[in-house]
């Protein structure tokens, strides 16, 4: 496929890896923000191509992983109602709530449907005027334009049986929360290329300056990631802390202005709780008052529901780059993708699931060797 295959070229990847080795003189810890990048890194073994001084930390950029427990509980409560058709992206279905996940609701007869796009959910609402159709609107800035569009259209076309359960999060406040934490280890960032395709990257300039960290907007294919790491290491070695753009073929400095315009029309910035991290101020999106009628929490009277996490899961530390998945005692034993204790094991883009899928044998061998 054009614009995909050429960025997976093995020989070019080797040249980038050698170039990184050539310029690296000291140990550096670099965090890739987005779960899609984590998945690529572990799948293609990009971390194993790098010199030993470079440590890649896996960041919080997986919306499935950071959706708080109480939102999952709200989803299962709404989905269990007989009048509801609950629509969601597929990877939210196995995220464990307090008492089960959306798959278990479906198994008990709930009408839970996997959709590819929020527009599919709006179409289902039009086709089923006698039912309540709810879309689980999760995501980062990348997904916000799609979710804003369906709310805007539902309002314009008076699709009264449609609503959204919103759990939208924003990247820059999360980066700031990581950088200001006392146990922060991250010295440079690969920012998420598709988030920046929508939002641009000017928001990152004050962060790079305030915390003196290089931030490189980076794509998702192996060569993108290797080039992003090269650019980041070169800044670190030079003592620079600038925002650079590796993913030039998709990201413009200002982002996608028509998309930002509709997002701003439909959503406002609100505080959000991140699973495993806690509440981060001004880190999420919620519906504006004008669209409050499409808020599923209000429609089903569950806005006030709250619950505290109680689990041995260390996903919070994994999401902040403080620990690696295999440092968890439950990893690949009590916690597997089939029976996850926490969300980083659920999503394909969660660091724990990526390690389980691509690194389990290495990790198990290492654990066995330590035990000997």
């Amino acid at each position: 496929m054009r614009y995909v295959d050429e960025y997976r070229d093995r020989a070019a990847a080797g040249r980038y890896a050698r170039a990184i080795a050539r310029i690296t003189t000291r140990p550096w810890s670099i965090m890739e923000v987005c779960g899609g990048q984590t998945h690529s890194i572990v799948k293609y073994g990009i971390d194993e191509l790098l010199p030993r001084q470079i440590t890649l930390l896996h960041g919080p950029g997986c919306p499935v992983c950071v959706t708080p427990l109480e939102l999952i509980d709200k989803a299962t409560q709404i989905a269990a109602r007989p009048e509801v058709i609950f629509c969601s992206f597929g990877d939210m279905l196995r995220v464990p709530g307090t008492s089960g996940d959306l798959f278990s609701v479906k198994a008990k007869g709930g009408d839970v449907r996997i959709v590819y796009s929020p527009t599919d959910a709006l179409a289902i609402a039009r086709q089923n005027p006698g039912r309540q159709v709810v879309f689980f609107a999760v995501g980062f800035e990348t997904t916000a334009p799609a979710n804003a569009m369906v709310v805007y259209q539902a309002h314009a076309q008076r699709v009264a049986n449609f609503s959204v359960l919103v759990s939208h999060v924003l990247v820059p406040p999360a980066i700031e929360a990581l950088l200001s934490a006392p146990d922060n280890r991250t010295q440079g960032f690969l920012a998420a290329g598709h988030v920046c395709t929508v939002m641009g990257y000017e928001q990152y300039v004050p962060l790079a300056e305030k915390y003196h960290v290089p931030i490189v907007v980076t794509g998702f294919e192996p060569l993108d990631i290797l080039q992003g790491i090269f650019m980041c290491v070169r800044q670190l070695e030079d003592g620079r802390a600038e925002v650079e753009n590796q993913y030039l073929r998709s990201v413009r400095r200002q982002g996608n202005l028509p998309a930002q315009e509709l997002v701003t029309k439909v959503f406002r910035v609100v505080p959000r709780k991140w699973r495993g991290v806690g509440e981060i101020r001004q880190s999420g999106l919620g519906l504006r008052d004008q669209y409050a009628a499409y808020d599923a929490e209000a429609r089903f009277g569950i806005a006030a529901y709250a619950v505290e996490e109680d689990s041995e899961c260390i996903s919070g530390e994994v999401l902040r780059g403080v620990k690696k998945p295999h440092e968890c005692p439950a990893f690949a034993g009590r916690c597997t993708p089939e029976h996850p204790l926490g969300a980083t094991m659920v999503s394909n883009e969660g660091a724990c699931a990526a390690y389980y899928r691509y690194r389990r044998q290495d990790v198990t061998a290492a654990v066995v060797a330590q035990g000997d």
Partner: protein, 82 residues
Amino acid sequence: MCLAVPGKILTIAGDDLLRSGAVSFGGVTKQVSLAYVPEAKVGDYVIVHVGFAISIVDESEAMQTFEYLKQMGELGELEQTS
């Protein structure tokens, strides 16, 4: 979750927020909203996320990853020989 895939626009229909088109992803064709890429034309490649095109692929910038490598290679050889 933020997975987005490049595809080639085959047809375009509708206006403004209802602008959409058929986009080919390596031979598999899907209907995609083009509302957020108003300047996109038939034949352009767009980056598509959950059924919405979020950018037009810049063909000249797409080569930059390989040109960068070329420049770097020359630079590296210079460093090694000096």
